[in-house]
Symmetry: C2
Subunit: 228 residues, 2 copies
């Protein structure tokens, strides 16, 4: 019984927050059941928002009780596909790429990076966190052979588009892009951007707005409008 409505991106991004909080409650072993109100209180979020998000996953709760804690955790896990391991390839074995290769927590969240690729001859042939680093040219064939569906890009910005093209050519269906680049991919490919400069822009603008306001109180009324 899957939902018939589109799932809002914002809701999807909140589910991990609930998931983590619920897991903590579970290991703490305090309660058997949890209500949306409980969850909202511990997270400082709007109770109605939490209710809608949980409801969206399709789980059925009991009025006056809430949701069985363990069930809810597993339900969210399953809803997100975090209980079904999917392979991934990573391109760009630099410092960020290596950090990502070192995150073994990804495995318990549905993703396992099975191979790394790079163009640097100094890196090719060696191992990085246990994974062999192969030449980028070997990527499309590797993807086709192993049927891996996820591609992670951790290259410099100017290499990202060509890497994405290679991934798509190999049959990758989802790209997680950490490179500072605006990628063009076919419609059937899921693109998740993790461009740090998007966040840095937001942070920088807000910080400037607030510190400037403090300096020139006469502009206060205007600046208030810019608060998030």
């Amino acid at each position: 019984m899957k939902p018939h409505h589109p799932i809002p991106e914002a809701s999807l991004r909140r589910l991990p927050v609930y998931y983590r909080s619920l897991q903590e409650m579970l290991t703490a072993g305090a309660a058997q059941a949890v209500s949306c109100a409980d969850l909202a209180r511990t997270l400082g979020l709007d109770p109605t928002l939490v209710r809608k998000d949980i409801e969206m996953t399709g789980i059925v709760g009991r009025p006056r009780v809430g949701y069985p804690l363990a069930d809810l955790v597993r339900w969210i896990e399953s809803f997100l596909g975090w209980n079904r391991l999917k392979g991934a390839v990573l391109v760009g074995a630099g410092s960020l790429g290596s950090a990502l290769l070192g995150y073994d927590r990804f495995r318990s969240h549905g993703m396992e990076i099975v191979a790394a690729f790079d163009t640097d001859p100094g890196k090719i042939g060696k191992r990085n966190h246990g994974r062999p680093v192969q030449p980028l040219s070997a990527l499309p064939d590797f993807v086709r052979r192993t049927q891996v569906l996820i591609g992670v890009i951790a290259t410099p910005g100017d290499a990202a588009q060509s890497v994405a093209d290679l991934m798509v050519a190999g049959g990758i269906l989802a790209i997680w892009n950490f490179a500072p680049a605006h990628l063009h991919v076919p419609k059937h490919v899921i693109l998740q951007n993790e461009d740090l400069y998007h966040s840095l822009a937001s942070l920088s603008f807000k910080l400037e707005s607030r510190t400037r306001r403090a300096e020139t109180p006469e502009e206060r009324e205007i600046s208030y409008a810019q608060d998030n």
Copy 2:
């Protein structure tokens, strides 16, 4: 002449995309002026959306011509505060933290990480990408003394809240959080989350939806509604 309306988060996050594209045009040296339609075309975005975003920054263009390319680049830079260098401290000199310390591009985007902190005795006292790694306990005093306003958290999730508390105590006004943790900070503190699991949830869910649809065509109509 600053805008009187609140600036949408989504618009702020699109500005770096325009900025980068405009910079490329500038170095390519092709055109003197650029229109929103041009920009929208090269980026594959809705022209009206681009217009609204650019307009929001307060720059004034010329009908039939567009915006002077060099002016627009500098305008966005200034709007985001990327031309005014702000100091930052980083906590957590692990693999991700080290990668962030190595990003010298941050400096040309308004942020310079001036010091790193950690609790690991094996890291304290050494240098990481030229920056001294200090004990975490030294953070509040350091922040007070140097008047740094930005704090970057790259610790494990369970340490993040206490680190955030230390930062706030020292006078940090903006926190860039890379740890997988839902942080509670006072209202006056800007919080920018870079939680990878938020993105991974979205990517994983969408990938599962699409691949499952392919397996069971009879559910196609339902699955379509879940497309982004």
